[in-house]
């Protein structure tokens, strides 16, 4: 049997017999991605609000997020393992911390790029600071924020595979097991499905972007 496996890169028989496991891994992979992107986005909104209100805090906030982003993923998971143990929490914390740098920079820069006349108009209409941020600045920064969502989501899908190396689920567990058994089918399945998920989520986000920011299309049409 091993000889046959080594002859071809993908053994469709194996794929057929492991449908349940593939489904389970898909759910786990998707869950971890959504948790990390969701938590990262919420935290980043808070940090960005602080950075926008008190400009002096932007450099240190962006600095710490950048520092976390620089630490290689496997090393970050290895730091967390002895503290939080072999569970989803370890993966979720590590994955979340990678999204912060992407989100915070894009949210702050997106809000900064809102035209000053628009802000003056909102102020003139008696908008308070919070209301102006929520109903004027964030919606106008939506393209930059969705761009960050796309980058963060696609990056996270890829990083979730690394958590397979520390015994977590998702497609990475196929890659891990394929590597330790020198069985390429599992590697192809794990890696391939991860790419498919990244592309599918990216397309979904592009669709959401178009649906939620119709004015960007109008402007583009007007320019053309």
């Amino acid at each position: 049997m091993l000889a046959t496996n080594k002859d071809s890169f993908i053994w469709w028989d194996w794929v057929g017999r492991h449908g349940d496991e593939i489904q389970q891994a898909t759910i786990e992979h998707l869950q971890l991605t959504l948790i990390a992107v969701g938590a990262g986005f919420s935290l980043s909104l808070m940090f960005s609000a602080v950075a926008l209100r008190w400009r002096a805090t932007y450099a240190p906030i962006a600095g710490v997020a950048g520092l976390l982003y620089t630490i290689p993923s496997l090393a970050l998971f290895a730091f967390l393992l002895p503290i939080t143990g072999f569970n989803t929490l370890t993966s979720a914390i590590g994955l979340t911390s990678y999204t912060l740098a992407i989100f915070i920079r894009n949210i702050v820069e997106g809000v900064d790029s809102v035209a000053p006349e628009v802000l003056a108009a909102a102020d003139g209409m008696g908008y308070g600071r919070v209301r102006r941020l929520m109903t004027v600045e964030l919606p106008l920064a939506a393209p930059a924020i969705v761009a960050a969502l796309r980058i963060a989501t696609v990056t996270t899908v890829g990083l979730v595979t690394v958590t397979g190396l520390i015994g977590q689920g998702g497609y990475g567990s196929f890659i891990n097991s394929g590597l330790s058994r020198s069985f390429s089918t599992e590697i192809v399945v794990g890696g391939g499905l991860s790419v498919v998920m990244a592309i599918a989520l990216d397309i979904l986000l592009v669709g959401i972007e178009r649906a939620t920011t119709p004015w960007t299309r109008v402007r583009r049409a007007a320019r053309a």
């Binding site: 496997l74 290895a78 696609v154 990216d202």
Partner: protein
């Protein structure tokens, strides 16, 4: 024993620093492989990117490269090269890791260098032509210096990704710093695990800081630019 003391005990034991499986050897191997990969990727990506950017062609290709590059997880590339390498007799460790690192380092270098050259002010390029510069001189004396900061940013991003992925190389038999993490995890040895984590993180951060310094020295005029532009933004 607390995690910190396990780590301190591991790092302060001299046997852990020496030999084939010691910290020094693995750190040097890690840096050597990363260095080779970055140089090889730069040799492939930069000339093509600069040439395409100079001709102002291939914008769509540049965007596609970065999108595809981001969607393919580094672990998947590394893992897929492992059976290929075994089949074609390149063995474990060095070769599959090196090829994976080069593949991963090309997209960020290519895209940043392409964008850098492409976004050089066309009037500046036109002026240099008007001064009688040949195309090669326009590239080397005008476009590359003007785009240098962005080109180096691409190299920096690629280098950090290379260092991170070289860590994953431990799982295809590469004897670098990731091996401490792999072994520490399998042997339930927190001291070893943390030694790998700290060493890899330190190297990544030091390389990042060093790169920042190089970019600043290589492009002294940017400091001037920045001062002018921030002054303009003050209300």
């Amino acid at each position: 024993m607390s995690i910190t003391s396990e780590f301190v005990t591991y790092v302060t034991t001299s046997e852990h620093w020496n030999g084939e499986r010691g910290i020094l050897h693995r750190a040097i191997e890690h840096l050597r492989l990363s260095g080779i990969a970055v140089v090889a990727a730069a040799a492939i990506a930069l000339p093509v990117a600069i040439w395409l950017g100079h001709g102002r062609r291939g914008g769509f290709a540049a965007q596609s490269v970065v999108n595809v590059g981001r969607a393919v997880p580094s672990l998947a590339i590394l893992a897929l090269l492992f059976p290929l390498s075994l089949r074609y007799g390149f063995g474990l460790g060095f070769w599959p890791t090196l090829v994976a690192l080069v593949i991963l380092a090309v997209p960020p270098m290519f895209t940043n260098a392409y964008t850098a050259i492409r976004s050089v002010d066309p009037f500046v390029v036109e002026a240099s032509r008007g001064m009688g510069m040949r195309p090669f001189e326009v590239v080397t004396r005008v476009e590359v210096p003007n785009g240098l900061a962005l080109i180096l940013t691409g190299v920096r991003i690629a280098t950090l990704q290379v260092i991170a992925t070289a860590t994953l190389g431990a799982y295809v038999g590469f004897n670098g710093l990731g091996s401490f993490i792999n072994e520490g995890f399998r042997q339930q040895d927190n001291g070893k695990l943390l030694t790998g984590a700290v060493a890899v993180a330190l190297i990544a951060l030091l390389v990042d800081v060093a790169f920042g310094a190089v970019v600043r020295r290589a492009t002294p005029w940017r400091k001037l630019d920045l001062q002018v532009s921030t002054k303009g933004l003050q209300p």
